[in-house]
């Protein structure tokens, strides 16, 4: 018996070692581009061209890509704009989508079915289809472009479908209806029940939707470039477009900007990470 246990333990050890090696190889290939960015961001443009693999270029170690990128993209202003847009859009999306998902899951009304069906269908609309109509309706007819509120409104509009879909799954599987019935018996209205019982139970999904949407909003280029035509409103991705035009790419600046722009979202991810797997779980099942 002892022998058998030992053999099983040894087998497990070997298996884990093999897995570990596999993981490290895969991990290295996933992280390889980032390593290249880290190596090259401290080089001059000429050195990047002449030897992208050298740890230090022939012109030596330089930090100048960072201040130059920051100046050219007006970093702090763009950063502030990106923050406002991303935070507002994410919060509003979460509040609205979770409420909508709740009413859809708990009621078999025709309106709910129709709304949910349209939302699912809209997930396969290529953005190009909506681009010009959006611009000509909101700019040409309503004249409300060049405003962060319009951008937030549109971000929310485009992300509601996916978010509602995820909350739909979570409420369906993870919120026991008995809890709500108990609350109703205690005299809670639907509204109170939702905010006091259901919403708190959705924490993992909220974290997941938060990171996925925040990421999408933070990195989005096409929509903000259509809506925000004034410099003082530029978000980070639009402010960096100057580094990669039709005719040339300043790869050193692109890399510096990438690192600068990635930090906030990386920090958010670290904070929310432990919820995310849980969140995807509840969304995925059923």
């Amino acid at each position: 018996m002892d022998d058998l246990n030992e053999r099983a333990a040894r087998n497990r050890k070997i298996k884990h070692a093999v897995f570990m090696v596999l993981l490290i190889v895969l991990f290295a290939s996933f992280i390889f581009p980032f390593l290249l960015v880290l190596i090259n961001v401290f080089k001059t443009k000429g050195d990047i061209n002449s030897n992208p693999l050298a740890l230090v270029g022939s012109h030596g170690f330089t930090l100048k890509n960072f201040p130059e990128a920051m100046k050219k993209m007006n970093f702090w202003r763009s950063f502030g704009n990106s923050m406002i847009v991303t935070v507002s859009s994410t919060v509003i999306t979460i509040l609205l989508a979770s409420m909508t998902a709740y009413v859809i899951v708990r009621n078999k009304w025709k309106a709910c079915g129709a709304l949910f069906g349209m939302m699912i269908a809209s997930m396969v609309i290529p953005f190009q289809v909506l681009m010009i109509p959006l611009v000509s309706l909101y700019g040409g007819t309503l004249g409300v472009l060049n405003s962060r509120i319009t951008l937030i409104f549109m971000h929310v509009g485009f992300s509601l479908s996916m978010a509602t879909f995820m909350f739909h799954g979570a409420i369906h599987t993870n919120v026991p209806i008995a809890l709500e019935e108990a609350a109703t018996i205690d005299g809670c209205t639907k509204w109170q029940t939702y905010w006091q019982i259901v919403f708190p139970l959705l924490k993992p999904t909220i974290a997941t939707v938060a990171i996925i949407d925040a990421m999408a909003f933070w990195n989005d280029y096409l929509l903000p470039s259509l809506v925000l035509g004034r410099k003082e409103l530029y978000t980070i991705p639009i402010a960096t477009q100057i580094f990669y035009g039709t005719y040339s790419t300043d790869i050193g600046l692109v890399m510096a900007a990438l690192l600068l722009a990635m930090l906030p979202i990386l920090i958010l991810y670290m904070f929310l990470q432990r919820y995310i797997v849980e969140g995807v779980t509840s969304g995925a099942v059923k």
């Binding site: 609309i125 010009i132 990438l258 990470q273």
Partner: protein, 293 residues
């Protein structure tokens, strides 16, 4: 309180979903309908005139060989990319739920590519393929690496697929991780006692129980691959010789660069219909599999 009256239902619906419905309609539905109307005009995108031309945009869309080539290419790309993304994601998920040390660290690491936007991502990878790989190939005298893959038709397609796998595998991995975790340990333990090997229990037990994860992942990857634009633009920009122009990029060029806005919009609608049909088919097949499992 009577919960079955029209006014109660309406009040409840408006309270919870009213704002959502309004915003969704204003941002997605109305522009979609307006865009549909524009396909019947010969608007050039700039002019104030939008002359009505009936179905002629659809006729020119059907006669646009380059569009159908791009669409066919998109189907091939999507088929390969979807399979690879899901295979890699599944393997990753299996590895990071097998109980090895530091699995949380690995989960985080594989997810990181998702944190960068598509445009920047393409430029970084272009740098990797055009410069880093070539420098590496020359340094190690590896023939296959010493010229850029982006310079050949098949190579450019391969590059697009590699980047897609890199970009999406981490995200899909999380969904599969969730799937693995939802398969209860008891069931697996029982299988082991009955003499199942590891491989057998994955194929016979875990996979059938994870059908919903597959459905979700496939839906997400299929739609994203069909609509690929950002990475296409910054990684290959259609090169070499317009052989890597995907459907969305062709639509964009047709509408804005060639200034055939109506035709571009019509082609975009055809793309939408293709996406929708594939998406619906895939989900309904998945649901059937789920029921039978």
């Amino acid at each position: 309180m009577n919960t079955n009256t029209m006014s109660y239902k309406l009040k409840q619906f408006m309270m919870f979903a009213g704002v959502t419905t309004f915003i969704f309609a204003a941002v997605v539905i109305v522009p979609f309908i307006y865009g549909f109307y524009l396909t019947f005009t010969s608007w050039d995108g700039v002019s104030a005139q939008k002359p009505f031309v009936g179905l002629s945009n659809y006729l020119s869309a059907f006669g646009d060989g380059a569009y159908w080539q791009a669409l066919g290419r998109t189907v091939i790309y999507s088929a390969i990319a979807v399979i690879l993304v899901n295979v890699v994601a599944f393997i990753l998920a299996f590895l990071v739920t097998s109980g090895v040390k530091g699995q949380n660290f690995f989960r985080a690491g594989f997810f990181i590519p998702n944190l960068i936007g598509g445009i920047v991502l393409g430029y970084i990878w272009k740098f990797v393929f055009n410069r880093a790989f070539v420098a590496l190939g020359n340094a190690l005298s590896v023939g296959a690496l010493s010229t850029s893959w982006l310079a050949t038709t098949n190579g450019a397609m391969l590059c697009l697929i590699i980047v897609s796998v890199w970009q999406y595998a981490g995200y899909m991995m999380l969904i599969y991780v969730a799937g693995f975790m939802s398969v209860s340990a008891d069931v697996l333990e029982a299988a082991r006692i009955d003499g199942c090997t590891n491989t057998q229990s994955i194929i016979k037990i875990s996979i059938p129980l994870m059908v919903s994860s597959f459905v979700q992942c496939l839906f997400l990857t299929i739609t994203r691959c069909f609509m690929v634009y950002d990475v296409n633009l910054s990684l290959t920009n259609g090169e070499p010789f317009n052989s890597s122009v995907m459907a969305a990029m062709h639509v964009y060029n047709q509408a804005f660069t060639y200034k055939n806005y109506g035709t571009g919009q019509a082609e975009a609608l055809i793309l939408f219909i293709v996406c929708a049909v594939v998406g619906v088919l895939q989900v309904s097949i998945g649901k059937k599999a789920e029921v039978s499992a």
